[in-house]
């Protein structure tokens, strides 16, 4: 019983929410590209350059937010290259994504050596981490449960707020609807005069934005350092989640919480003396198991639902001609 209470307590939940945040941010980013019909295996690389440039920017500007800005900018550049090659040149998504991941790995290590003259990791050097947000009156309202909602770094809140925002975005906004149409029925989008190119660029850049934030959270959030390949497969796990959730924000959240839990739980187990190599493999095994277990269900087609929304949407806006004008 004592073992159980020391395993499962508020601290575990808090740790779970903390470890969920980076993967949730990057998966929410990937939700845009998934919905737009792009298979974005390059999330890992975008996250990695985000983490590296966040550290670099934080040192240059002396402020954590300057760092976040730099990290996001770097991830956006990668997202732009991805979109340029995949959308404009119609190159293979997997090849481009993998190449960008490899580029991110090599580039961050090379730059680390060029700028700091070190290998392995950047620690100290004046990196400014993100502040912790204290929610007022949290302690009064929740007592010992207060750490559940208060005391995280800002990007954790951003990650969890992104979920309802994305739900609304896909259901209620024109851009969200366009992204869904482009992903599910490109021909229909074309017939409606939606520019597939523009929508795919937009969703790729939105994805880069969130992936950059995820990277910044990795290197400036709870630990303020950068290490080689510090994204350690989180981007790939996010892609696994996106596959079985089909990019739906709520299901992405569920998947990410599962990983956050696996991560936090395995870190907890490590303190009980289980060999760390096996423990480290747990999140990947969970990802694989979930991918395999959930993929036997055919992917639900949302086309009918989208067609319905589209019709309502179009009838609400009569200024947009829904059929070509007769000559």
């Amino acid at each position: 019983m004592e073992v159980l209470t020391s395993l499962f307590n508020v601290a575990l939940l808090v740790a779970m929410l903390r470890t969920t945040a980076p993967i949730l941010l990057v998966a929410m980013g990937g939700s845009f590209t998934t919905k737009a019909g792009i298979f974005n295996i390059g999330l890992e690389g975008q996250m990695l350059v985000g983490a590296f440039f966040a550290v670099l920017g934080s040192i240059w500007t002396g402020s954590a937010w300057g760092g976040v800005l730099c990290g996001v900018a770097a991830a956006l550049v990668f997202a732009l290259i991805f979109a340029l090659l995949v959308v404009t040149f119609r190159a293979n998504e997997v090849v481009v994504g993998l190449a960008l991941n490899i580029l991110a790995g090599g580039m961050t290590i090379s730059l680390m050596k060029a700028v700091f003259g070190t290998r392995g990791s950047i620690v100290g050097q004046g990196i400014v981490g993100l502040p912790k947000v204290q929610i007022p009156f949290a302690r009064e309202m929740l007592g010992s449960w207060a750490p559940l909602i208060s005391g995280y770094t800002p990007l954790v809140y951003v990650a969890f707020l992104a979920v309802p925002l994305l739900v609304l975005f896909y259901r209620r906004t024109r851009l969200g609807l366009h992204i869904r149409v482009v992903g599910e029925k490109p021909e229909a989008a074309e017939a409606l005069g939606i520019s597939i190119t523009r929508i795919r660029y937009t969703s790729s850049l939105l994805c880069g934005l969130l992936a950059g934030l995820a990277g910044a959270h990795l290197s400036l959030g709870y630990i303020t350092m950068f290490t080689e390949n510090m994204s350690s497969g989180r981007g790939f796990m996010a892609v696994a989640i996106l596959i079985f959730s089909n990019g739906d924000p709520l299901r992405v959240l569920a998947g990410c919480l599962l990983f956050g839990f696996a991560d936090a739980f395995s870190l907890r187990l490590q303190t009980f003396g289980y060999p760390s190599y096996l423990i480290l493999a747990v999140p990947y095994l969970v990802a694989l198991a979930a991918l395999f277990a959930l993929s036997y269900r055919a992917r639900p087609k949302l086309i009918r639902e989208t067609a319905e929304t589209m019709r309502r949407f179009l009838s609400a806006e009569p200024d947009k001609p829904s059929n070509p004008r007769p000559q």
């Binding site: 040149f89 293979n92 481009v96 190449a99 090599g106 730059l111 694989l288």
Partner: protein, 346 residues
Amino acid sequence: MSLRLRAILGQVIAVAFALALGSIVILLIDESPIRVFTTLLRGAFGDPGKVAGTLLQSTPILISGVAACIALRGGMFNVGVEGQLFLGGFAAAVVGFGLDLPTGLHMLVGLAAAILAGAVWVAIPAYFRVRFNTNEVVSTILSNYVAILLTSYFTIFLFKRPGGWSETPPILTSAHLPELFDFSRLNWGLVIGLVLALLTAWYFRNTPGGYSVSMTGSAPRFAEYGGVDIKKRGFWVLIASGAVGGLAGGVETLGVHHRFMEGFAPGFGFDGLIAALLANGSPIGTILTALFFGALRSGSLLLETDTAASREIITVIQALIILSVSAQVLLRRRGDAQGGERRWKF
């Protein structure tokens, strides 16, 4: 022939473009591109020992490249060569120090164990790929992490060598792959790789089975109409690819390190995939691209000591090469892609 010549020319131009981009990156990190490239050349081909070193580095890249080629031809990505290589290397090492067999036979059993390990490791992703259409890119990538951690665990906790080394005991000499020269560790692994590449090319070009694999990859509906069971074919293609990936690890263990250790072959699997992509899935072409990447790798050893650049700069160059190749292939055939149908969606 002229079509093929034009294709090769296109790849060469893409490589040149990537090298130009790479030079800009090198300038950005305050180093002279000329110095970096001459150092790379010197490190790769400076003397016979260095040439042998280049060939030694090319061997696992070549075998992993053939593994990737097989999957690419069948229309799939085996991004898990890295993990198969680690498991193959580990299995070969276990046979190498655990069994006591006559010379020659011991080596063959070791290689067979490596092949088996690679094939078994890819079996689950392969099954789910053909049965439930589970994206094999993600499942094989994730299984890499598991494979690497798992082999590290076995090495450190189960077969720990006394004295604190994180490596298995050395394999018996009866399991060693014979060396080709006395001045280098270059061994018969290179010959195995070359023969394998030629055999694979022959298989794809001259046999009905090879043709059906190519068709399963490039025109699955046509293949199915022609009577190919594309699910079964796809499964065995991935299994074959994984088996060759395991072989790459076995050759590395039995030929070079003579033991399995943590991080024993970092990135060879990925280099092999890149080499196969650059060769456009052709096993013969992979021989050339594997040599190219082997030369880059072996040249990069000098980079750390002789220049301010780190050896990962070659990773950057490789990635740039693949990016420019992926762009130019489709520039050339942009008309074909106008339908916008990409097969690599989940």
